[in-house]
Structures are given as structure tokens and as C-alpha cells.
């Protein structure tokens, strides 16, 4: 019998594969709860905060293959669950005209499993990522109830298929549409906000090992100021912060200055409206001034703690 995983052990495993969490973000605890209670994990939060990453990390920790269903408007069960293999069915019909029964055509041999069915049929426990569930329509959401609650699906021609091994289901949502109560009730819920300065510095240092600590800190502070102070159409994501830091590193910078902030701004802000808003409300010098104020605040807080 395998030993039951504890939260501390789970946190250590996350740490071992290089996934950075903080106690305050509650990511480790909530993911652990979902895993142990065998419930789907519903993750919400703005784009680019690392929702999808959690599924990938869980797949590594649980040593389970990751099966991904990318949702989009108009997604239906033939793309998500299964489709019949019409070519094979046609061939079969042509070959066995005389003694053909309907059941001969609608059996597992003629079934093309899509991600949801693949997850149920998997011999080994897997992680099923249903990404951006808010992009689908409510009919599809209702269709998922059976899968999320009972870990089974019903195919009219074949009957009910139960999961061989219950998959660990992770659903992500950007909050574009309110999800139904039925779906939410079946899940454990985690909301992620963009990382704190400290956490982002740790992420930057882990993913870009050559990045000097000072530059990492200045970049993380500046991005934090942008996220907190300005209401952009699209706030800079963690991966964009990383791109920015890498670009500055390639240019041989060890700290931020206004000219380079302006020159590389498009790595962070991807729409003309957001760029205009930045210059209107803050500008590069304003940004560095605000970041400096934040650093001063951190130093003061640190001084208080030491005293």
C-alpha cells in the first residue's frame, strides 16, 4: 500500500520540480485538497498568472500524463468527447452488407476518443486540463456535469463508460463568463492573483539563472507598479515579465533606466491603448520613481521588523 501524501510532502515535491509557491497564494494547499479529495480543481484569475501551469506541474508531481482540452466558442462533444470513425464504418458497411447489425458499427473499434474520453479510458491516472472553460457555452458546461461529478460519460449507442482511474481534473477560467452554480459546486476553487514582488523575483531568478538580483528586483517592482496602478486592457503576465528581463539582460543592463524602459516597453504592453495609457498616466520616469518609492517602503518595513 502506498503511503498517503501529506501537505508538507506535497509542498516539498512542488519545490523539487522548481515550482515556486508562497503560503499566501494558497496554491499548494488548494491543489493538495483537490488531489486528495478527488475533486476537480477550478482555477480563476487574470490571463498570464500561471493557471495552466498548475495542471502541468500537477502532472509532474503525480507522475500522471497530461491530457489537454483547449476550449473555444462552439466546442461541442464531437471535439471534446468522441466522434465515430465514419470512414471505417463505411468500409465495414460495404464489406458486410448482408449480415450487418447496428451494434457492429457502434462499438469501441469505431470510436475516436477525444480528450475527455481519453482521460476516462486511460489505464493510468492522468491529469485532465480543461483550459478556458469560460469560452464555451453553457450547454457544453452542463454536458460536463456527468463527467465532473461521477467521472463517467454516456454514449447513446454504447451506454455508460466509467473512468478506469479517476483523472485529476483541472479547469481554468479567465472570468469572461459566469460559470453555472452546478459546475462550481462540483469543484474546489482557487483564485490566483498576479504574484507578489518577492515571488516574481524568485520566479525570474529560477527561470533566468543569469539574471542579476538587482535587475530582477527592479523589473519585478516596476511590473508590480504597472499592474497595481494602471488599469490596462491586458495587464503584463509573468511570462512577459520574464521576456522583458531577458531582453534587458541581453542588452547588458544591470538596472532599469527611463530610456531602456521606453525602448523595451512593447514587450510588456501589447496594445496601442495600453501604451497610450502608460504615457498619459505615468511615463517611464514616473514608473521608476514609483518603483523607487516601493523599494524605500520595503526597506522601511524591513527596518521596523529588525527593530
Amino acid at each position: 500500500m502506498t503511503e498517503r501524501r501529506t501537505l508538507d510532502l506535497f509542498e516539498k515535491e512542488l519545490d523539487a520540480i522548481g515550482y515556486i509557491t508562497e503560503r499566501d497564494d494558497r496554491i499548494a494547499l488548494t491543489a493538495f485538497l483537490a488531489t486528495e479529495l478527488g475533486k476537480p480543481l477550478l482555477i480563476s484569475g487574470p490571463a498570464g498568472v500561471g493557471k495552466t501551469e498548475i495542471a502541468k506541474v500537477l502532472s509532474q508531481v503525480l507522475e500522471a500524463p497530461l491530457i489537454r482540452l483547449q476550449c473555444y466558442e462552439g466546442l461541442d462533444e464531437t471535439k471534446a468527447l468522441y466522434e465515430w470513425n465514419y470512414q471505417r464504418q463505411l468500409l465495414k458497411i460495404q464489406l458486410g452488407r448482408e449480415h450487418l447489425q447496428e451494434a457492429d458499427l457502434f462499438s469501441a473499434d469505431y470510436l475516436l476518443p477525444r480528450p475527455l474520453l481519453q482521460a476516462l479510458l486511460s489505464e493510468k491516472r492522468c491529469v485532465l486540463l480543461i483550459d478556458e472553460i469560460d469560452k464555451t457555452d453553457s450547454e457544453f458546461e452542463a454536458f460536463l456535469f456527468e463527467l465532473l461529478g461521477e467521472f463517467q460519460v454516456t454514449i447513446p449507442e454504447m451506454g455508460t463508460i466509467k473512468a478506469k482511474e479517476r483523472p485529476m481534473v483541472v479547469l481554468t477560467s479567465n472570468g469572461e463568463r459566469e460559470l453555472s452554480d452546478g459546475l462550481k459546486r462540483r469543484c474546489i476553487f482557487l483564485h490566483i492573483e498576479p504574484p507578489s514582488v518577492n515571488k516574481e523575483v524568485r520566479i525570474l531568478r529560477a527561470k533566468v539563472p543569469d539574471l542579476p538580483e538587482r535587475l530582477a528586483l527592479e523589473v519585478a517592482r516596476a511590473v508590480n507598479v504597472l499592474r497595481e496602478r494602471l488599469s490596462f486592457n491586458k495587464t503584463p503576465s509573468v511570462s512577459e515579465t520574464m521576456d522583458w528581463a531577458k531582453a534587458l539582460l541581453v542588452m547588458g543592463k544591470t538596472g532599469l533606466d527611463p530610456a531602456w524602459v521606453e525602448a523595451t516597453l512593447t514587450l510588456l504592453l501589447k496594445s496601442q491603448d495600453d501604451v497610450e495609457l502608460f504615457y498619459q498616466e505615468m511615463g517611464a520616469e514616473g514608473l521608476l520613481f514609483e518603483s523607487g518609492k516601493m523599494a524605500q517602503g520595503e526597506r522601511n518595513a524591513h527596518g521596523h521588523q529588525q527593530r
Binding site: 494558497r26 494547499l29 488599469s231
Partner: protein, 451 residues
């Protein structure tokens, strides 16, 4: 599951607290099902009760499924799991407030009488009276005393005059209600439960956030942020096209599944074919905005909403209405105000700005001259406080409009608790989906639900 009776007792105590906590969460507006309470209990038995932060995280993950409820959850957790002394202090304060309130209401029974009879007025009206300045209270008491002892044609007034006196008094109290607190209710201090009143207090304090503030109270400096939010919300309307397939006789892709099943009887020769086509789902929006006097305070909101919609949705038809219907056909310009645009439209049509509201006139004009804007793909969006003349006729016309279009959505800037006082809201309700909409939070919620 449990090893001995001792731990059974512990668990049942925990269960009791969990159920009580869930009930408190329900009181502040968070939906919680029994299965979620069960999940919370299981989660706690897994994580343990030693660490307060972890307990909070488990309860949040299992009981709160919506970002906008997180702050209410945190306040409720803080209050429910506070120290005993703190809870006692809150209970005491709540009991004191309730006593004070009861005393005040009790005194109104003494003060507000006609010829020694109690008057038929609501608890809220009594509360308004209790909150009035002493001088004005005295004036009302004088009025009641004079009318109690008054005469008509040399004869003293009898009790049949009481309803008339009550009407005058109600009118005066209604004036004071608006003067004292606009649309906010003057309600009793709520429950004598100290924890609940503490949560309610904390949530009221949080209402300073832009999202939950009445749109007419948003200052000019905050508008740019609000505008951006409205734009983002309007974007969702634009993306409303459904791409699901539906069965059709011709056009679109071959529905292989159906075709194959149908043709099994022909030995697999595809004689009888079935097709499917894309649903053409893009909505045509017809916007009907109330510009009467009572809506003036919301004109900035309406303008931003209209402008936001027009920048993301093509072919939106906009009409303003007061006493009459004003089509707003010209292009919306950045920086222009709603008022100038309406005035331009009025001068072009040779009409004048009217102060009253007549939805019936507006709908009739739509019916007569613009009925081509209505189809089964139309979303009729009405922004109005539903205070209109000719309400019955308007309700009839709304019922007609409802039959012509896919959906009638009414954003009412009047709080829902005031709807019962507005004469015709009840008549309109069967023919539209009406939502209260006077904060950005409301607008977000409506768009989330509808789109």
C-alpha cells in the same frame, strides 16, 4: 471513519460550527450547498485545525466559488472565528443598537397619532421620522395636533379624515427619506447577532470601492477607469456569436453521424443525406435610453455605456426617450457629451427637450415608424428607472415588443427594493428581464449572466 466516541464528539462539534458558519455565509449572500459543507469537513479532517490560515484556506477553497465573494468570506471568517471577548463585545453593541432603535420606533407610536389613534404608516416611514431633526419632527407633531383638533364648517373633524391625514404625512416622510438618504434604506440595525452585524459593517466599509458605488456618485477623476471597465464589458456583447451546428436541410457541412445511421438500411450507400449549418447568432442591439429628469444623474453612465457599446458592436440602433422618441442616428464622437448629442438630434428633428417620461409614446413611435429594427435576432435593451406616464399602455406595448424580439433586457437604475413603490414595474416585469443596475458591479453581473 472515527476511532472512538471522544473523536466522534469532537467531529460533531466541528460539524455544528461548520453548519453555523455556512449559514452565516448564506446570510451575507454566498450560496453554499450541503455537499460543499461536506467537502469542507473532509478538507479540515485532512489538513487539521492547528493552523488558522490553513483552516481559512480550506474553508475558502471548498465554500467560495466566486472571486467577488472572497472579501465577504474573509470578513465572515474573521468575525465568526474571533475571540469570545470580541464576540461578546459585538453582541453587546448590537443589542444596544437594537434597544435604541426599538425605543425610537416606540416613541413614534406616541408622537404620530390622529385623535389618539395609531396611524397606518410603515416601519421605514417611522424610522425616517425618528431620524429627522427635532424642529421638523415638532412641525409634524403640530400638524397632527392641529388636524386632530381641527374643524370643518364649524364641526370638529371625525376619524374619517384619518386616511387623508395619513396621506399627507406619508408624502412628507417620503420627502424626508429622499432628503436624508436618497435611495439608501433607513432600516433597522438588523439582527441582534453581533457577529452578523460586524460582518455587515465591514462589508459596508468596503463599498467605497468604485465597483460597488452608485454610478451617480462617481467623481469625474474616477470616470476614465470606469469607462475602461464599461468598454471591456461591452466587448462581451460583440463576441456573442454562437458557432454550434444545428441540423438543416441544405448548406453547411454533412452531418455524417445522422447520415450514416439513416443510410444503414440502404446498405451504406449515402442516399438520404443530412446537413448541418452554423447558427447565425449575432444579436442586433436596439438601445432605448431614458433621458428624462429623473435619469439626469445617470446620463454620464448611459453615455459611456452607449459609447462603449457602439465602439465594439456594429449596427447598434440607439434611441433616447423622454416624452417622445429621439433616434440617435449620427456617429458617436469621442469627447462629445450625451447631452450635446441628444440636443443635436432634437434640433434636427425640430423637437424640444422634454422633462417627463413616457415610455408608451416611445414604444408606439418605434412600433409605427421603426418596426423594421425589430426581429427575432434583436436584443431590446432599455435603460430607465421605469418612472413613466401611461404605464398600462406602455406595458401593453412592451408585451408587443417582447413578442417581436429575441429578448427585452431592462437595466433599471432604481434599486430593486424601491421597485414595489414604482407603480408600473410590476406591469412591466412579465415582458422583460429587469435587473437593478446602478453600480458597475451590477453591470458586470448582468453581462456575466446574460452573455
Amino acid at each position: 471513519m472515527h476511532m472512538d466516541t471522544n473523536s466522534d464528539r469532537k467531529v460533531s462539534e466541528l460539524d455544528k460550527h461548520l453548519v453555523e458558519f455556512a449559514q452565516l455565509l448564506r446570510t451575507v449572500g454566498i450560496k453554499i450547498s450541503p455537499s460543499e459543507i461536506f467537502d469542507a469537513a473532509e478538507g479540515l479532517s485532512l489538513i487539521g485545525l492547528v493552523d488558522r490560515d490553513r483552516v481559512e484556506s480550506v474553508l475558502q477553497a471548498t465554500m467560495v466559488k466566486d472571486v467577488k465573494h472572497i472579501s465577504a468570506f474573509r470578513e465572515t471568517f474573521r468575525a465568526y472565528f474571533a475571540t469570545l471577548e470580541q464576540k461578546e463585545a459585538w453582541n453587546k453593541a448590537a443589542a444596544q443598537k437594537a434597544d435604541q432603535w426599538n425605543e425610537q420606533i416606540e416613541s413614534t407610536y406616541q408622537d404620530l397619532r390622529f385623535q389618539d389613534n395609531e396611524l397606518d404608516i410603515t416601519e421605514e416611514q417611522r424610522a425616517v421620522y425618528a431620524s429627522m431633526p427635532e424642529d421638523d419632527k415638532q412641525r409634524l407633531r403640530d400638524f397632527l395636533e392641529k388636524s386632530s383638533n381641527g374643524t370643518r364648517g364649524g364641526m370638529p373633524l371625525d376619524h374619517s379624515y384619518q386616511p387623508m391625514v395619513e396621506r399627507v404625512l406619508r408624502g412628507s416622510l417620503e420627502y424626508w427619506r429622499r432628503k436624508l438618504n436618497e435611495d439608501e434604506p433607513i432600516l433597522s440595525p438588523g439582527s441582534t447577532n453581533g457577529i452578523l452585524s460586524e460582518v455587515e459593517r465591514a462589508l459596508r466599509d468596503r463599498e467605497v470601492e468604485v465597483i460597488s458605488r452608485d454610478l451617480k456618485k462617481i467623481s469625474p477623476e474616477e470616470w476614465p477607469e470606469v469607462v475602461r471597465l464599461i468598454r471591456r464589458l461591452s466587448q462581451r456583447l460583440a463576441n456573442q456569436v454562437t458557432r454550434r451546428y444545428r441540423a438543416a436541410r441544405r448548406r453547411g457541412g454533412l452531418d455524417m453521424r445522422l447520415t450514416l445511421r439513416k443510410n444503414l438500411r440502404y446498405g451504406g450507400v449515402l442516399i438520404d443525406r443530412s446537413y448541418r449549418s452554423r447558427r447565425k447568432g449575432r444579436l442586433k442591439i436596439v438601445l432605448l435610453c431614458d433621458i428624462s429628469g429623473s435619469m439626469l444623474k445617470y446620463s454620464e453612465f448611459i453615455w459611456q455605456f452607449v459609447y462603449g457599446l457602439s465602439t465594439v458592436v456594429n449596427g447598434i440602433k440607439t434611441f433616447a426617450f423622454g416624452e417622445m422618441l429621439v433616434p440617435l442616428n449620427q456617429k458617436f464622437k469621442k469627447g462629445q457629451t450625451f447631452e450635446t448629442m441628444v440636443k443635436e438630434a432634437l434640433s434636427m428633428s425640430g423637437k424640444e427637450w422634454g422633462g417627463g417620461t413616457n415610455l408608451a409614446n416611445a414604444l408606439e413611435a418605434l412600433h409605427r415608424h421603426n418596426s423594421d429594427v425589430f426581429s427575432k435576432q434583436t436584443l431590446l435593451l432599455i435603460v430607465s428607472d421605469a418612472q413613466t406616464l401611461e404605464g398600462e399602455k406602455a406595458a401593453e406595448l412592451l408585451s408587443w415588443a417582447n413578442r417581436q424580439v429575441r429578448k427585452v433586457l431592462w437595466l433599471n437604475t432604481l434599486p430593486e427594493r424601491r421597485w414595489s413603490e414604482t407603480p408600473f414595474v410590476k406591469a412591466f416585469l412579465p415582458f422583460c428581464q429587469m435587473y437593478e443596475c446602478y453600480t458597475l458591479g451590477h453591470l458586470t453581473q448582468i453581462l456575466n449572466k446574460q452573455f
